[in-house]
């Protein structure tokens, strides 16, 4: 699949003949430095833009436009609707896109709000929450829809290091409970190794596949370190050691 986007002056090739396959219950990572088109790739899966070459299939059907089968968690904190409370934010797509009855939607929203530990803040408006809490609401909103695939575009990049670490662990716990298929974009090698089970390494300008690797379990810190070094060598050449992103 090749993706291009137009600016005022030029047609820019973001990714060139990138091909990958995500299996059910994968935590599939798109990893690469900035400029490798990983976010553009994710937006294409979301249906926000069309590939100029090749195609995207979800369960044998071609992706042509955005839809609730591919819920997206964005990097920005302002992805929550400021005019709705936490519960209403989670409820809204359940009611309007899934068409659940009020009772079912309420029950499911409360369940997922509890999963992200925000029950106490269910009636709060987003502007009263911290950045980490907002991202948790966004994750709850995405997961509550139980989409075929959950798209996450560097959801923790704007968080501080401590919160980020905690959120990565919580995401893994949530995944344990739901076994949801996740497509996760990040530029942090460390995050990729922690969060993912399968990692697609992309090289920049334009984005091309450099490698596709299996990750190691969190319980194996030495294996994780080795994998990080390996990816680092793939991306930056021999001399570079892993630079921690925290």
């Amino acid at each position: 699949m090749t993706l291009q986007y137009k600016t005022d002056e030029a047609r820019v090739t973001a990714t060139f003949r990138v091909s990958f396959q995500v299996q059910r219950s994968d935590r599939f990572i798109l990893l690469g430095p900035s400029g490798c088109g990983k976010s553009t790739l994710l937006k294409a899966v979301g249906g926000f833009l069309q590939p100029v070459e090749g195609e995207l299939m979800l369960r044998g059907e071609r992706i042509t436009r955005p839809g609730p089968s591919r819920m997206m968690v964005f990097q920005e904190f302002d992805q929550l609707l400021p005019w709705r409370t936490v519960r209403e934010n989670v409820l809204f797509p359940l009611r309007s896109a899934r068409g659940l009855s009020r009772g079912d939607a309420n029950a499911r929203a409360d369940l997922y709000i509890e999963k992200v530990k925000l029950t106490k803040f269910a009636d709060a408006y987003p502007h009263t929450l911290s950045g980490g809490m907002k991202q948790r609401v966004a994750i709850a909103r995405g997961m509550a829809m139980e989409p075929d695939i959950l798209l996450m575009d560097e959801p923790f990049a704007a968080l501080d290091a401590l919160t980020r670490r905690k959120m990565q662990e919580e995401l893994l716990q949530l995944w344990e409970g739901t076994k949801m298929t996740i497509l996760f974009v990040t530029h942090s090698i460390e995050e990729a190794v922690i969060v993912g089970n399968r990692i697609l390494v992309l090289s920049p300008h334009p984005g091309q596949v450099r490698a596709e690797l299996n990750s190691v379990p969190v319980s194996d810190p030495i294996g994780a370190k080795n994998l990080q070094d390996r990816i680092s060598r793939l991306l930056f050449g021999e001399d570079n050691k892993v630079v921690s992103h925290g």
């Binding site: 955005p66 997206m72 964005f74 609707l81 400021p82 005019w83 797509p93 309007s96 408006y125």
Partner: protein, 339 residues
């Protein structure tokens, strides 16, 4: 890796370093603890602070209400007016604040108490004399204003939605606003009178639509454009249809700008209406506030002229401080979209 905190040794802070200050200093190559002894304190038994949450005294609390502060300003202005009018002593040019308010209340309601013989005709005459009471004049003005305002806002909404979704729609809106927004609505009144006929309320409604529509459309459109890309993508992600997308994502996301547009539109409409009534004296069958001012000027009732203007001011204050303020508190302020 380079020094993780370049220049950190120049840092000074008034609170003790958290974590392990000794280790930090050792890493930065500073002699450990030589001139700065470490200490710990127990703050649990401290009573010197007193009440952490101290109550404000009554005066501070009263002054905390916006309405008290604003009323004080109005009161001071009224006093200045009264003093100035007494000083110049020219009731025909500048009646006192007291006389003007007296005229306001004298002219407010139909003078039913002056009716000697009660009949339907007499009641109608009291309401509809040449110099009709202020409330009836105000009602006549506001009725027209609301109709014009509603249609203007609706058209503005359609135009800006079209402008948001299509390029040609945007060009259309931008060209039209550039052409008509600077065109004073008052300048259209003679034309409207030719088209709709003298005394036809539709003439005034037409002019009102013109004065309301452009500022509202301009603000609405810029609000739509400024609403974050992320929020729009969220809306698309839900797979909302175009109607629900506009109603449930676009309009609330642009609400601060829309509200500004509505306020400006209201002010433009109100000004246009009063001015048109004043200059052309047309407004269906019952005059209107501007007409009231005009008539009293002709009769040299300067205090009643002031009463009419006061009425315009009161309505302005009411709409801004009660209606729009309430809407603001229930929407953009509650949502944290405006301070």
């Amino acid at each position: 890796m380079a020094d993780p905190m370049p220049g950190a040794s120049n840092l000074s802070t008034s609170s003790p370093t958290p974590g392990n200050p000794t280790a930090d200093r050792a890493r930065l190559g500073i002699a450990v603890g030589a001139d700065r002894p470490e200490f710990e304190r127990d703050t649990s038994g401290s009573t010197a602070v007193g009440d952490v949450r101290q109550k404000l005294n009554p005066a501070e609390r009263v002054w905390g209400f916006e309405i008290v502060r604003k009323s004080t300003i109005v009161l001071l202005l009224l006093l200045a007016w009264q003093w100035g009018a007494l000083y110049y002593d020219n009731p025909l040019g500048l009646p006192t604040a007291w006389e003007s308010h007296k005229a306001l209340f004298d002219n407010l309601v139909p003078k039913f108490w002056e009716i000697k013989e009660w009949s339907w005709e007499a009641v109608k005459k009291a309401c509809n004399q040449d110099n009709a009471p202020l409330l009836i004049m105000t009602y006549a003005s506001i009725k027209l204003l609301l109709v014009g305002y509603a249609i203007g806002v609706l058209l503005a909404c359609l135009l800006s939605v079209a402008a948001t979704f299509t390029r040609i729609g945007r060009d259309f809106l931008e060209t039209l606003t550039a052409m008509f927004s600077p065109l004073p609505a008052i300048a259209l009144v003679p034309l409207a009178l030719i088209w709709f006929g003298l005394g036809n309320p539709n003439a005034m409604i037409f002019v009102l639509i013109h004065s309301v529509m452009w500022p509202v459309a301009l603000n609405m459109h810029s609000g739509f454009r400024a609403s974050g890309t992320t929020l729009r993508m969220v809306g698309q992600n839900y797979g909302l249809g175009p109607f629900r997308f506009v109603a449930m994502i676009l309009i609330p996301a642009a609400f601060p700008a829309i509200l500004t547009g509505l306020k400006i539109g209201w002010a433009f409409g109100w000004r246009t209406l009063i001015a048109a009534e004043l200059v052309f004296g047309v407004n269906g069958d019952q005059g209107g506030l501007g007409w009231f001012v005009f008539m009293n000027k002709n009769n040299q009732n300067t205090d009643a002229v002031f009463a009419g203007l006061l009425m315009v001011i009161f309505i302005g204050l009411l709409v801004e401080n009660v209606i729009f303020r309430t809407v603001e508190n229930k929407t953009v302020r509650k949502w944290g979209m405006q301070g």
